[in-house]
């Protein structure tokens, strides 16, 4: 390589560095200007957090995209261009070269080496490149410098709102403190510190209309400016000074409460919505059902799943042994297998064993058994959750001939419910795939499920007929109270069985309990199983015709019936209480005592509260245009009068208050709020019979 070519190669490398520096500077300038633009817009209109969160990534993305699409191709072009192209770039800028550089690069021996070397050696190639580089970098450097200057001059908090936004930075917005000089309630931030036991982080809310927080939290409300006080219930708290702003801190109330913040010029309402810590959820797995034991011996395995929304503390199995009868009962109680959970545990498994021999049980004694869990709530708790209760009864000697001593696996209805649920899942899966399956395949799979359904239906039939004391081929049997005419002798065929099941299933379910029918208890107890039997038959029919979608509702009804059968076995049936009919006519003619009835006021209309709220809502609309901030406060005050259960209206009014406070189009939010107020008290079906 000749000295000239070596020089051109060195210059090319410097050229490449200059191109790269230019591209980086331009990309950085673009990103900086985007951040500055975001800062300016945020200062003017207070961008929401979600928009601000997108500004920095957007700036970075555009900068990197510029580098990739413009900078890198330019760099590649400089690095891969032939030497002649580099030489020509200089020849254009330095006419005095008279193509000596190009010539010496292209054809080094065309003219004398000395002449070429002298011409090229005297050419100021490096200084020309430096001048061109300075010129190219000047404008992007100026733009970047301007952006950096703005970012340095503006307060760091305002820059952070765009560069690294987070909830609770509303007070740092550029210009917020200036505006606060006029109104210290213009911008507020609420910071919630949850109780220590919850293990939750501090949470900030910008410009809240309402704040929801766990009971036991500390609430700190902050703003810019001075001279603010807060009225919380009956207490007035004076805000403390904090830098250029104010802050007021207090314990979160236990009931929905309004806070009125009062400033020098106006006031502002904030609704505090306490969230109650949920009690632990407890599900008892074993024993799976109630049972009657012949003798108080052996061990009963116990297991339960426990869970809590914030954290479990302890759990145990609790038992109560009741002994006696009639008016004389004695009780003993205790805990088994207590367990302590580590801090932060939100779910756990509880297992243990109840040793019957140690309980000194006698005939007729009943053990009431359940699992109990406590959470870590040390503010208004601990919350206590309990499972369903199982009862284990020790049979009396005179019951031995009628008591079947059952082990503790799931009952037949429970097992059948499980199987029916599996068949339902298979059918739902088939229905989901139905459109993709060819018809023959669909028919084959549908009939396969139908065969499973038929098997299960027969099992349910066996359970029913075994209970009736017949043989388990008993679908051809009949029974007292089945609706069948017992004057007809001989076995029932399948149609008659189904007819009997249908009659039993369609009977009034309250008749047996009220003792008004001639239906035997055995049929009444089995009725849910007969219903399930019928529904399974309908499901099978639909599956046989490859219609899984229409089979699904019948399967769901079958599951519901099986679950009713399971529940029915837990009803504490002592027999029918005596039914005394009072002779009202006779009684009314012979009152024993004279009486002076107290005055009674007429019952208020059921929706009087709702009507009052609607009237207040309509009244505030007339003043909305004149004073939207006062209207927003009025909306929040109406929201405070809502019953806790009316969550839809609470949300709608919160949203309306926020929309009114922000300004702009509020019609839709107000419409939703009014609809929710008007429709809040519709759930009154059960009252009509005795409200008329």
């Amino acid at each position: 390589m000749s000295p000239v070519q070596e020089r051109v190669a060195r210059i090319r490398r410097r050229f490449a560095m200059a191109v790269l520096a230019h591209a980086v500077l331009v990309a950085a300038a673009i990103a900086g200007m985007i951040l500055v633009a975001g800062l300016v817009v945020d200062a003017l209109v207070a961008l929401p957090l979600v928009v601000r969160s997108a500004i920095a990534p957007l700036a970075a993305f555009i900068g990197v995209t510029f580098l990739a699409l413009r900078g890198l191709p330019q760099l590649r072009e400089v690095l891969t261009s032939p030497d002649e192209a580099v030489a020509l770039w200089f020849e254009r800028r330095l006419p005095a070269l008279r193509y000596a550089l190009v010539t010496s690069v292209e054809a080094p021996f065309a003219i004398g080496p000395a002449a070429l070397a002298a011409t090229v050696a005297s050419a100021p190639l490096e200084s020309e490149l430096s001048a061109a580089t300075r010129h190219a970098l000047r404008r992007p450097a100026l733009a970047l410098g301007a952006a950096l200057l703005v970012l340095l001059v503006v307060p760091a908090g305002a820059v952070a709102r765009v560069g690294a936004p987070r909830a609770g930075d509303a007070l740092a917005r550029a210009g917020a403190s200036l505006r606060a000089g006029a109104d210290p309630l213009a911008t507020i931030v609420a910071r919630v510190t949850p109780p220590a036991y919850a293990g939750l982080a501090v949470r900030a809310v910008d410009e809240p209309s309402s704040v929801a927080a766990l009971v036991g939290s500390r609430l700190r409300i902050e703003g810019n400016g001075r001279d603010v006080r807060a009225i919380v219930g009956h207490d007035t708290l004076v805000a403390t000074e904090q830098g250029n702003g104010w802050a007021v801190e207090f314990a979160f109330p236990q009931r929905t409460t309004g806070v009125r913040l009062v400033g020098p010029r106006r006031s502002r309402v904030l609704v505090l919505d306490p969230v109650m810590d949920s009690v632990p959820s407890v599900r008892l797995d074993r024993p799976a059902r109630d049972s009657v034991l012949r003798a108080p011996r052996g061990a009963v395995p116990l297991s339960a799943d426990v869970g809590d929304d914030l954290g479990l503390a302890n759990a145990a199995f609790e038992y109560i042994v009741s002994s006696g009868a009639g008016e004389t009962f004695t009780f003993r109680s205790g805990h088994v297998a207590p367990q302590r959970f580590k801090a932060g545990a939100r779910a756990g498994r509880l297992e243990g064993t109840l040793l019957l021999d140690t309980l000194k049980l006698g005939p007729g004694d009943v053990i009431h058994l359940r699992a109990v869990a406590w959470d870590r709530n040390n503010v208004n708790g601990p919350g206590v959750g309990a499972s369903e209760t199982r009862t284990l009864r020790i049979a009396r000697a005179d019951e031995y001939d009628s008591v079947s001593v059952d082990p503790l696996p799931p009952t037949e209805p429970e097992k059948n419910a499980l199987s029916q649920r599996m068949i339902l899942l298979l059918t739902q899966e088939l229905e989901a795939r139905r459109r993709r399956l060819p018809q023959p395949e669909l028919q084959r799979e549908s009939r396969r499920i139908a065969a499973e359904q038929t098997k299960l239906r027969k099992r349910v039939g066996e359970v029913v007929f075994i209970r009736l004391g017949e043989d388990n081929a008993g679908e051809h049997s009949h029974f007292a109270g089945d609706g069948h005419d017992h004057g007809e002798e001989g076995p029932l065929d399948a149609e008659q069985i189904l007819a009997a099941a249908e009659r039993a299933a369609n009977a009034d379910p309250t008749r047996m309990l009220e003792g008004e029918g001639d239906e035997s208890p055995i049929v009444a107890i089995n009725r849910p199983l007969l219903e399930a039997y019928n529904h399974m038959w309908r499901a099978t029919t639909e599956l046989e015709t490859a219609s899984p979608r229409t089979a699904i509702p019948w399967m769901i009804r079958a599951i519901e019936a099986l679950q009713r059968a399971r529940a029915a076995e837990r009803i504490y049936l002592k027999g029918r209480p005596p039914r005394v009919v009072v002779d009202l006519a006779r009684v009314r003619g012979t009152g024993k005592d004279r009486f002076a009835p107290a005055g009674r006021a007429a019952r208020a209309p059921l929706d009087a509260d709702r009507a009052a709220r609607l009237a207040r809502f309509d009244a505030l609309l007339s003043g909305l245009a004149a004073d939207p901030l006062a209207a927003a406060d009025s909306l929040l005050l109406i929201r405070l009068t809502l019953p806790d259960e009316d969550r839809d209206a609470v949300r709608a009014l919160d949203a309306a208050a926020t929309a009114v406070r922000r300004g702009g189009e509020v019609t839709a939010a107000l419409q939703r709020a009014r609809r929710s107020l008007a429709g809040a008290a519709e759930r009154q079906d059960g009252l009509r019979p005795w409200g008329r």
Binding site: S333, V384, L584, P689
Partner: protein
Amino acid sequence: MMPDFTFATAQYDSGDWDSAPLVAANVIDSVARYTTIDVAPTGTIVPLGSRDLLKYPLVYLTGHLPVRFSEVERRTLRDYCARGGLLFVDDHNHDVDGQFHRTAWEELAAAVGPLGDLPNDHALYKSFFQFPDGPPTTSHELNGWGDNLVHKHLQAVLRGDRIAVLYSSKDYSSEWNYHPDNKRFLSVDNTKFGVNLVVYALTR
């Protein structure tokens, strides 16, 4: 057509819910005797987990054994109280330390809310007959049975100023559990407080 008032006894999943079967007839007799309320001549039994519970403004629940509601029963009872029903719970053991008392309080607190003393000048004691000293005592209390206490107050869970759950440790279940025809042997009818309960439930 359903009468204005039908006395309903709650049947719950655990315990001896039917331990005072004649209370219904006795209260019905008194309502008919002293008021013009359109009352059904016989009581009814309604499962606590059934939506039928919502048909009755007053539901009576008693027993001796531990009370453990199922989740369905809890949910239905919560709905019932939210919709304006009144559940009258009476401890047939007349014993504040007994298992019925302890378990019933736990279950009611979980389902509806914590019980608190009902003031003896509450509207319940004036809703028909006047009871200026609060709830009438029972012979079981006066005889020193149970916990050997005369309970000065009934307890209640209030919804606004309305009673949603009324709880008694006075054992009205034993006091009122006799055939109404035998009322003629009493010098003072001891079931008059039952009329107040009915009138209160129908008018509040």
